[in-house]
Subunit: 388 residues, 2 copies
Amino acid sequence: MATTQSSFTVDQSHFKVFEPTSTPDRLLLGPGPSNADPQVLQALSLSPVGHLDPFYVGLMSEVQELLRYCWQTDNRLTIPMSGTGSAAMEATLANVVEPQDTVLIGIKGYFGHRLADMASRYRANVETIEKEWGQVFSLDEIEAALNKYQPKVFALVHAETSTGVCQPMEGIGELCRKHNCLLLLDTVTSLGGVPLFLDKWKVDLAYSCSQKGLSCPPGLGPFTMNKRAEEKMNSRSEKVPNWYLDVSLLNKYWGSDRVYHHTAPVNMNFALREALRILSQEGLDKSWQRHRSNAERLWKGLNSLNLELHVDEEYRLPTLTTVRIPSGIDSKAFIIHLLNNYGIEIGGGLGSLAGKVWRIGLMGYNSRKENVDKILNIFETELDNFKK
Amino acid sequence: MATTQSSFTVDQSHFKVFEPTSTPDRLLLGPGPSNADPQVLQALSLSPVGHLDPFYVGLMSEVQELLRYCWQTDNRLTIPMSGTGSAAMEATLANVVEPQDTVLIGIKGYFGHRLADMASRYRANVETIEKEWGQVFSLDEIEAALNKYQPKVFALVHAETSTGVCQPMEGIGELCRKHNCLLLLDTVTSLGGVPLFLDKWKVDLAYSCSQKGLSCPPGLGPFTMNKRAEEKMNSRSEKVPNWYLDVSLLNKYWGSDRVYHHTAPVNMNFALREALRILSQEGLDKSWQRHRSNAERLWKGLNSLNLELHVDEEYRLPTLTTVRIPSGIDSKAFIIHLLNNYGIEIGGGLGSLAGKVWRIGLMGYNSRKENVDKILNIFETELDNFKK
């Protein structure tokens, strides 16, 4: 008998009959995922092509160029990692950090802690500076820490999804150059929705996600590194300790060699191309303005309902707003009510803000006036029903 | 001015106008990706839901149970990794290998070499046994190597996509238990298409991909580990040196805790659920038989055209057939002709089989009589036009 003929009988103990796949209607106004543009979902469902098909190779270059525009960078090594934003996050560290390198992390929310955890797995000497959740770092604080720790890499979150804070970026890149350190930036909740100038800010490594500001489903992790970061990677004494995210290998597939690395998630890349194309057609300026004006409409509406916003207006993210939960309100019951009765998702707080804030996202396709008015109307008419 | 208002002007140097995303029609009869079932593409394009939405949490459990059926395993830790098959491959090693552990790899094709490269990045003491590309390992060869190297992990490829060989599995699991070593199996080109009995074969860790036999686009990497493998993972002295693929963290999201790890690629999971559902409705036995009878039709047809198959019939994979390129034929020109004139993709050889074989895949949705007849007809009528 051939080895590929069945030698045992099939066990039916895990066999179950399931209905065809369908999903409930959801308006995703939480910290992510956000809804995708219907045209993006259309592109996602196109029939796959080979990952070395000349058509696909052309599409890869288009995705790279679109990402460069949206991130405002000339970086050659600008590619979507074949995983979610967290994979791209890990890729930034995995490729440049060598054991015992000092990596300084600015922690002012959940994702700063994640960066610290990841860096430790690459055997970095991890140092941290911390701010309360809802605050930003000043240039003086950053300079003092660079002086004290002399890190090889300084990692910072631009838009903290856990707090709703946008870190002012001007001047930080110059400080990092002065201290001969790489600047690594999380742009997960800013790409597409908030002004972002990677090259002008002298950012050396950055990552993001395919959802949120890009209006594509989650599943890809845009990644970029400049020449300074490449030099650090190329001077490694050992291989990158992560095969899947090894940019020196990925570069041979995404670069002119087109050497097979892994079978690309082709459909997700169709969708990402379409999402980036739609964003670039709108124009970055216009998208940023749209996010800002819809967020201001939300902030004004919440204020007029006597709800407090957690972050000072100066540092407030247009893509994600943290609203303080009024005392005496059953915040979890309200979240469940929104989901079950309106199909609307908003988020609760994470970490030190758990039970203290709701998180309302207005990102990409979802950043529109009618969504703002819908959620404000529900807060106005229903919140009082959730007094404990 | 608020930090989220634009301080620079947008540079238009990477701005380009692109057409809406569309793809050429392709019949993917290469080593992968293969075409997806249209119902799976429909599921893929459903509107996203939150990754902690009760609906999605239910869907996750369904995907797990469907995977258990298709892999014929009771393993609790059976989950799709949020990356392609290569990510799941890396996950099997990353979670159980500790520095200086001896990992023995059976190399009989391209993907064995990849396993060795990956294991080395986790600082394993990598030992290998090798066979020519197109051959399988005997039980005696495996036992001798287990005796010699006393490995903690023995990794093997069940279905070698680079050679078209299916490794006989019976008896190997027992040998690994006897030598107190974990058995790690690559089932990328076998899951869904070839008899596979993980638990009966005493396989401790396995991985696969979402495409090929499952008829879903590439983008997820099914992963499974049993209690023996869990014990090895739980006895680690340090954290898993890969955050994204750390099963001890992923287990808190996929297990009953449902603790946020990363934003799941929800749409790919809709598609995978639908693909696994369709496969389970057909029934594993029937799917295996369908793959086998279509492959036999292909083999018979190729033989009658006097084309030689690279692998002995006893060890030949139904999902992927390696055909020796007749002398004097311009094999690359033939591949390009198939793509440009028929929209059909077949593969060339990799590694030591480069320029020596074509690779024809009949996997999942594509394993059907009409595809066999179409490709045979083209070989019959057109191959002679490609004499050099």
